[in-house]
Symmetry: C2
Subunit: 445 residues, 2 copies
């Protein structure tokens, strides 16, 4: 069957909804999405995925086919399925704009809606926000590790499914990547597409030089030769020999790509061969098991590399493949709520995050406070949806990208540099602490 | 725009295809998918995802909208885009049936098709095979760690996007999980759906007992109470008090769920409370940061736990979030091919994998040989598609699940048990080694 996104949920969301429906619980509830803790490999995170969440909330409906399936499934009563047929998201959403740097315990999104609505959307909302936020942080680390270099997302093949590949391409672009190799992401999000050639193209020819000529003739505007199929330096010499012939046909060699061996050593030798052959304008692009750690190492070795194709470890966020994030009830029927489960207690009430800045614009510290509690600093959560309608227009990717760039520039230096330990000060407001203590006093035991 | 799956590819697949098209390279090519090396945390892998690959290959077409986009994109000539409009997969596929255990250097799938066809599908084919294979292995480790226990996939929310959640649910079910919490996977693949309740349902009531009653009344056939929202043992006592009242209404409490704290300690105390209250038939189900390592530890501590909801670390394969897999050209125009890139050399020629067994049925060792090279043992790659048509019918999930169960039972004990080191013998045939040496002698340098 073809699913709408509403069945992209956990079964318990539907059984709980049946409980709320059956017992008439429909008062407004406030849920907040936040990350509990930073893994040791991360010093900051970046909010991403809001646009996909908004589209999901505004368009979510049960299809007729799904409603039939739910009826036949056996757990759900006919009157409840009739109610589901009318289900729409009619609530409010406040969120940090995409590209905003954030820290643990800071809500980046709040939903206020009748409890059955706010609850049903939890699973997909977390699924969308978690993944792009995860990748945006990883991609930001690559950008900070290789300032001024051309970075391209190469990760689709080992991303976890198609949607992961598409959304990773988007998150990388927001973080400052030049583009992606994923054609569907280029088509869908209007992200610049980049590509070179694979070893199989070379191998399908008896002669490496002939393979280069065939590729250049067919793709005169994007000539990047992969030169490590057999012998990297020998292939670089072939490029030197071929380039004048191509030039006479009006074809310029843009770059060569290295994909194996010691990339810094090869890059140095290839740079020398190209330069001696007069190809000083031909760039060196590398790929293969890259991530921010390898980028830093290559650049620390002064490797003459102009661009990087970063794939698997980026699109899977391999060193941190998930974040400890949650979407938790903080208020129901006007009453702040709090869960006290061991090691997983949550802060009650609707919250706002206030950020203070140094005179030069660097982030100085955040405070998580109750909404409406008077605070210094810039409030980071902004209205996005009111009564089921979008009140903040969809943002252009370029605008989000610019914001994220600016945010990364305003990070305290200790958080920007992977080699220096640093923790960013996030405090909880007196109002929030008082409220939690007050609730603990009246919680059922 | 709405994409078909054919734009789910890397840009270079299209530029290379334009090269093949422009220069008339259309001879048959053989590509093989294999895993280069096992990460230290894995002793075996399990083939999964073939059905999705077959559906993709049989249905792949460019839509009119995509063709227009390709024309406007600028890199592709009009006659080439006309050629793409006719593009169909017309080749052959041989593969290991899903659920087959395999090891590094063993091809689990081979495509033989005109080179432009075999090449274009690489990215999505790898994307589909890699992910389910990754998750099937992780899920198999959970099943081996908790024999006889009820295992349920809880991972959608932190899976990498929607497709990852759906396909992870499928891979877990193949591995022996009882089902999934993901409703869309239940609807799409007909996998049993499982669910309990969330903390927010409890928190939305002023009284925990009232929350339990509301849930049970609305979902009389699937009563599982989450008991760790405030005080786990106090909530277990409430379940004991409530159960007789529910029984009079014909409602049976099936289980309680624990989601925080020391799960083994809580399970022991809760088991005692339930047993003393006469609820010996009520099962204990746990969740929260589980994976095969935690399952082994909990069961080694003799925790009285009947079932496990395994989520994030399973659906992201958190300890091994990707495999070092490849889809490589091994033959073109009848000539075996080999890439020699440093550290990434490939074995040439079309291959078959032969498996030998101990008299009791346990796997004794595999040999990777050239197709047609006489070998002892059972050949594992089987015909799936011939000339673009399916020759092996789609398999029922139940049948794959049974095969996988049997395969796991036939694993040498040293590979089944996570605590014992063991390596499985995979050898390369003399014919394969001779061919590689022969090619190295005539490779361009």
């Amino acid at each position: 069957m073809k699913n709408s996104e509403l069945l992209l949920t956990d079964l318990y969301q539907l059984t709980m909804l049946q409980g709320y429906y059956r017992h008439g619980l429909s008062a407004p509830a406030a849920f907040e999405f936040f990350v509990r803790d930073l893994p040791p490999q991360r010093r900051f995170l970046v909010a991403a995925g809001l646009e996909q969440v908004v589209e999901y909330l505004l368009e979510a409906r049960f299809t007729d086919e799904e409603l039939r399936w739910l009826l036949e499934e056996g757990r759900f009563a006919a009157d409840f399925v009739d109610y589901l047929a009318q289900w729409r998201f009619s609530g409010d959403v406040d969120a940090m704009p995409e590209g905003t740097v954030f820290f643990p315990q800071e809500p980046i999104l709040r939903v206020v809606a009748p409890i059955g609505e706010a609850q049903l959307v939890e699973t997909r909302l977390v699924n969308l926000l978690h993944f792009q936020t995860l990748i945006a942080a990883k991609a930001a680390r690559c950008v900070l590790a290789a300032p001024g270099k051309l970075l391209v997302d190469f990760g689709l093949r080992r991303a976890h499914g198609a949607e992961a590949g598409l959304l990773a391409a988007r998150a990388c672009y927001l973080a400052g990547f030049a583009g992606t190799s994923t054609v569907a992401a280029a088509a869908h999000f209007d992200i610049p597409a980049y590509g070179t050639m694979a070893h199989s193209f070379i191998q399908a020819h008896d002669d490496e030089m002939e393979a280069f000529e065939h590729f250049a003739g067919a793709n005169p505007d994007s000539v990047v030769f992969l030169i490590d199929t057999y012998d990297t330096e020998a292939a670089a010499a072939k490029v030197v020999a071929l380039a004048p012939r191509l030039r006479r046909r009006g074809i310029a060699v843009k770059a060569v790509r290295l994909d194996s061996g010691d990339l810094a050593d090869h890059a140095r030798r290839v740079r020398a061969i190209l330069d001696e052959g007069g190809l000083t304008e031909v760039r060196i692009f590398v790929s293969g098991n890259l991530d921010e750690y390898v980028l830093r190492e290559l650049l620390a070795r002064n490797a003459p590399i102009d661009g990087f194709g970063v794939g698997t470890r980026l699109d899977t966020s391999a060193d941190v493949p998930y974040l400890d994030c949650a979407y938790k009830l903080v208020e129901y029927e006007g009453q702040p709520r709090r869960k006290r489960s061991e090691g997983k207690a949550t802060w009650p009430g609707r919250k706002q995050v206030y950020r203070r800045y140094e005179p030069a614009g660097t982030f100085a510290g955040d405070q998580v406070a109750l909404e409406g509690e008077p605070q210094a600093g810039e409030p980071l959560l902004q209205p996005v949806i009111r009564r089921g309608r979008r009140v903040a227009p969809a943002e252009r990717l370029e605008d989000i990208r610019e914001r994220m760039q600016e945010q990364l520039e305003r990070l305290p230096p200790s958080l920007r540099d992977g080699s220096v330990a640093g923790e960013y000060p996030v405090s909880l407001s007196p109002g929030l602490r008082d409220l939690a203590a007050q609730i603990d006093g009246r919680l059922p035991s």
